[in-house]
Symmetry: C2
Subunit: 137 residues, 2 copies
């Protein structure tokens, strides 16, 4: 897609620090790393977000995220977070589907749980049941 920075990286028009590539996906270092070794995995075909991405690309992305996690562990990291943002309301900034693979070290100070706990919603059983019905597939 024109004017998509990740499509330009795929085409080689913008350089990247590539760690893995196959026919369907590309994985490279995030140039704004949360921790050293922070990787992004993207499908080579442009999809905007999780609502749009085709299942075969989605599987290949997540299988690649697992491969990279294993490689990170071999390298010596202690844990991994997977993070993926969709739409502006969901804090997406580049509108080409991408999965963050963030290496974690013991006591690195990063605290996603704190951000989650800060927003915990109280719901009673009726509210849970009504939400369950609304989302049931």
């Amino acid at each position: 897609m024109e004017n998509c920075i990740f499509c330009k990286i795929i085409k080689g028009e913008i350089p990247c620090y590539k760690v893995y590539e196959n026919d369907m996906v590309l994985a490279f270092l995030d140039i704004n790393p949360v921790n050293e070794g922070h990787v992004l995995v993207i499908p080579k075909k442009h999809h905007r977000d999780i609502f749009e991405i085709e299942e075969e690309y989605l599987c290949e992305v997540v299988k690649t995220a697992k491969k990279i996690s294993l490689k990170m562990r071999e390298y010596g990291i202690d844990g991994v977070n997977i993070f993926q943002a969709n739409t502006e309301a969901g804090e997406q900034t580049v509108f080409h589907y991408h999965m963050h693979v963030i290496p974690r070290k013991k006591d690195d100070g990063i605290n996603f749980s704190r951000e989650m706990l800060r927003h915990l919603k109280k719901m009673d059983p009726d509210q849970f049941e009504s939400m369950r019905k609304a989302l049931e597939i």
Copy 2:
């Protein structure tokens, strides 16, 4: 696995607000929701984390996360975050692989980016290249 709360939910020994189930995965409301409708997707076979989960289960989990995201959008949410924690250092608290599907609303105040930006690491091209080589598959 004995004493695994998610295995007990799968076996029906502990109740849950189920939104989707097939042979391989189960999806249910998180009882500590970051936003109303926060869902967890888990493999029915016990796997500890991303390092351990078999590829076919991983694909089924992420395809289910997509299905649920689409259902959430139908319901009226504005965005979705996917979050997944591995090992204690990576803030995992239940040691049965699980993927969070967190519905987002415009201006809901949740801010994962802030937590990420707070920890950005400065790296020069040599450091990037050395990390790239270390993680290359």
